[in-house]
Assembly symmetry: C2
Homo-oligomer: 125 residues x 2
DNA sequence: TTATTATTTAAGCAAATACTTAAATATGAT
DNA sequence: ATCATATTTAAGTATTTGCTTAAATAATAA
């Protein structure tokens, strides 16, 4: 009967506050999960570079492969994850697929890549 | 001798552009890696919830354990990762460690958690 | 000192991740 | 049709992640 759902004996903290926050987090559970998923995908240095590059211009898989000096399948698999989560999209021109930032990319990720500005950016054509 | 560092035969794209972007990304390699690391840590729904909660108030491990309904060691290990990357810090009050957002939390992550506002937020005390 | 509470740390493990190489598609050119 | 190019997909694998349980610290109280 004296089962306690709480982990510690509190003297100072307001129990109601804990329950309120528990409820808030719970009510937005799927929200947190979806946002975390997109952020997690941006939280890989290869994909972050891809997203940053696609913010500058559209590129095909082999462009990205050359720029990042990684294998075609490795790049393709990263792009697939971004594509599956509506973070990038592509258009076909002959055999070549040009990838670009999906217009519906979440604001959370947009905020990140918009802020990624480096010193040398001005040197680019 | 005819080794090609490029993955595809381009007709339309400017080779110099590819080389410029390659150089830019390379010169900021560690920058991308560090930023991606912090974003990756925020890109987990448990840690995203923790960061959001700590943005609202400071909490001890067992508070977070109760709010998120997860084991103490699980929470503690998440906090350790955030601590190791200067994303959170804590103060001691007796046996209790109160965690809070590290003042130097990167802007990339600040942008995210500042934007995480939910409907029910107003109901909280 | 001994016990209690708060928290961390360590060890173990299942699942997810990020590559690799090889094979499969798809479009375009001959 | 056949071949070449651009890309994806599949299978295999080493590494990382996120939990679990149990043991170790650390501060406080009796």
């Amino acid at each position: 009967m004296s089962e306690n759902m709480f982990s510690c004996v509190r003297t100072k903290i307001d129990q109601r506050k804990i329950e309120n926050y528990h409820r808030m987090v719970n009510e937005n559970k799927t929200g947190f999960k979806e946002i975390a998923k997109q952020i997690q995908l941006a939280g890989n240095d290869v994909r972050l570079k891809i997203l940053w590059l696609l913010k500058q211009d559209e590129f095909c898989v082999c462009d990205l492969s050359d720029i990042l000096q990684m294998s075609i399948p490795a790049i393709s698999q990263h792009l697939r994850k971004l594509k599956d989560n509506d973070m990038v999209d592509f258009r076909r021109d002959g055999q070549t697929l040009y990838y670009f930032i999906h217009p519906n990319l979440s604001n959370y990720v947009k905020l990140i890549i918009n802020d990624l500005v480096f010193e040398h950016q001005k040197e680019i054509i």
